[in-house]
Assembly symmetry: C2
Homo-oligomer: 487 residues x 2
Amino acid sequence: MVIRDKIFSTITTVFKRHGGVTIDTPVFELRDVLTGKYGEDSKLIYDLADQGGEICSLRYDLTVPFARWLAMNPMIQNIKRYHIAKVYRRDQPAMSKGRMREFYQCDFDIAGVYDPMLPDAEVLRVAKEILDSLNIGKYTIKINHRKILDGLFEVCGVPADKIRPISSAVDKLDKMPWEDVRKEMTEEKGLDPEAADKIGQYVMKKGGKDLLDDLKTMTELTSNASFAAGLADMELLIDYLEVFGVMPVLSFDLSLARGLDYYTGVIYEVVTEASAPPSGKPAKKGPKPKNDDPDADRSNDDSIGVGSIAAGGRYDELVGMFANSAKGRIPCVGISFGVDRIFSITKARMTEAVRGNEVDVYVMAFGGKGFTGLVKERMQVCKTLWDAGIKAEYFFKVKPKLPQQFASAEKNGIPFAVVLGEDELAAGVVKIKEMGLPEGHPEKNGVDVKLDDLVNEVKARLASKGLHEEKHAKAVEEVQLEAKDAA
Amino acid sequence: MVIRDKIFSTITTVFKRHGGVTIDTPVFELRDVLTGKYGEDSKLIYDLADQGGEICSLRYDLTVPFARWLAMNPMIQNIKRYHIAKVYRRDQPAMSKGRMREFYQCDFDIAGVYDPMLPDAEVLRVAKEILDSLNIGKYTIKINHRKILDGLFEVCGVPADKIRPISSAVDKLDKMPWEDVRKEMTEEKGLDPEAADKIGQYVMKKGGKDLLDDLKTMTELTSNASFAAGLADMELLIDYLEVFGVMPVLSFDLSLARGLDYYTGVIYEVVTEASAPPSGKPAKKGPKPKNDDPDADRSNDDSIGVGSIAAGGRYDELVGMFANSAKGRIPCVGISFGVDRIFSITKARMTEAVRGNEVDVYVMAFGGKGFTGLVKERMQVCKTLWDAGIKAEYFFKVKPKLPQQFASAEKNGIPFAVVLGEDELAAGVVKIKEMGLPEGHPEKNGVDVKLDDLVNEVKARLASKGLHEEKHAKAVEEVQLEAKDAA
């Protein structure tokens, strides 16, 4: 949870940097609100039992609840909103890959009627800032456009009612070979094999701005209105993303389709090298291109894995589906980060142990024969430290043994002990002992300080270790999670 | 959500100060796990539809899931755990009082075999630190002991099988008059009226250490083993709470019973003056006692309202109910804060408006005839600010009008504008303008700065307003939420 907290705070910082405000929508939605929004995945929605009252389901994502909320609040015509919360899917969990029935999503969305591609560019810039701040290694933002896909399918002769299922088959190209996808399209979904082959000729294409220039020359495609509109969007977006410095991590990928029904424009998905490359497909040997190398061709880097850690796109019709008036038809674009997958990657990349808790001072006591345990005195010293904002604890026994107390402090990696003795206390003195000092260190056995000076002495020692009262946690996490690029 | 975030961070800071670590348990529990743990409130549990697989319900609180988790992880024999998450109840919502079907709880629990009352005292100290840090006004921690209550009921002649229902009736004494409670006990729950009257004679008692001394003289009660054990616990606890400075906010209240079945020892509940005093019962006139006045008699202050904002107690048997072996029978004590109620109180006490977002700089452009809108230039300046960790935004139009841009900045109370003009940009200059300066102020029309110096100039201005890049949020919140005691 220490790592997860750090991921949340990194993401939240970027969301706020871009003017995001948070809105909390309920975990329940009326079942009708969720129906028909998730394509083939609708079977994964959790329903609540009918115990009287409304028929509800658990939210499947944060996007549909946000759209429903916007439609219900027509005085809000534009907003940059973020939301960090759990969503629920009746899936087979695969813990090691961070796929669970209940998991966190961190969403950022821009709603409002604006000039084309400006909010879309900002969402992708937000993605890059977040991904650069997390310790996840090399990543790629794959991008495509629903209108490009729809146009392409039209040109290839896919009937209108088959466009969504065929799109969903194409989306599996990152997980299975073309032959299997083709089989799904022709055998399962009844597509004309000729149309399938034509699709295959296009959807393997990926690249950067070069692909854009390439596609502009293909008149068969550009003469299709939908394709042309999508391509114009993409050209403008790439223009803006160059300003925002996002292009080096982008791959324009015609096979990216995204299964959800509600996308209408740009779609994207973030994959990382660390997110489990398909087994049986060896990682490329030799030096790997770096994120910050704009000349590196990332589009064909087959070391890039399958699991996406973030995804999103433009959904201009979804809010309108819940709205009563034209005023409620607000176009939106957004992205959703899967914290559990990011967590799996981050954890696997961590080199240092995470401390058990964040306590800085363990207050203990010792004494000879007739030792009372000094429990109230230990409590009093803790109170003094807590009052000063210092994280402290003591052993919950009236008469604990000294080794017990040290063991408890060591278990959690607590850096300092304050040791109380009866004679010392009578003289107004306690001992501060830094844990884990080597034999022979001048302070190995601790230093006596006046009880009245204890808070200042502890603060000075925490500061000299780069720790500060109540900032310790952050400091530790930042050191632990410092990005160490494996390349 | 800005206020709610601040409440979360205040609470988390205190939890960590006492060595708390967080654990995230799932929102689903097997239905059997929740059955029989919540007394009369069990009817409020939400069930999931049976869609195949396990029969699940949504968590009703965070305590039972924690106990189940502890039992399933027998290598963990002690832990100070906190958890901030939502729980679910099929209740009639009363939004204005912060009672909802879905709401946040913030729980802190200490699990482990320890010397009596040491963890209990620490939990109450944690409560006091949190309550003192929140802007909620005067509050009281009401405290009682299950064994004291059970003993008292025995002495009054309540049959063993009626102790829980009678206890639950007594618990309503803060919401209804004694006559109604007596009626519930005798008419609804079939208690002998003589026993009811005897109970009435005791449960109206409340006080501080004086009540403890008073009870110790009542041999009718102290000769009961359960009562005596409870009273000994309470004496020790009060002794420790004096060391921790908690006594001034404590009220030992024999009518406090808490409905949940799983408590076995000390129980407590926090009420505040601000949490809606019962209507028809006028608030006491004249000066009110202050929290920090140890001599103030708080126990009979009838301005103290009914809604509890935190509650908890000791539950020594709950973990054992889920455990397979004796090793799994871990005693626990904990407290749960109701953030939504705290939020309602805090919001009502706030005197300043909350800003729309946290953005510090709005980047805008203006120009005369043939004005291009400078959209890429605005994007470039935003990128520069974001790269420096400064919160910035711009208007999502290619050619926006200047008043539109100012209106958008003003709407969110953004303190600075950076204004781009074509001629100025050509000379490498932009204008920084502090929003809302009065007429006649020397910088009313802004100051020209070199584009290369922009980041430093903005940072200096933010710092001079007490704002710092990415610390702004915290600063604003702290000012807004600064406790202003109404007394």
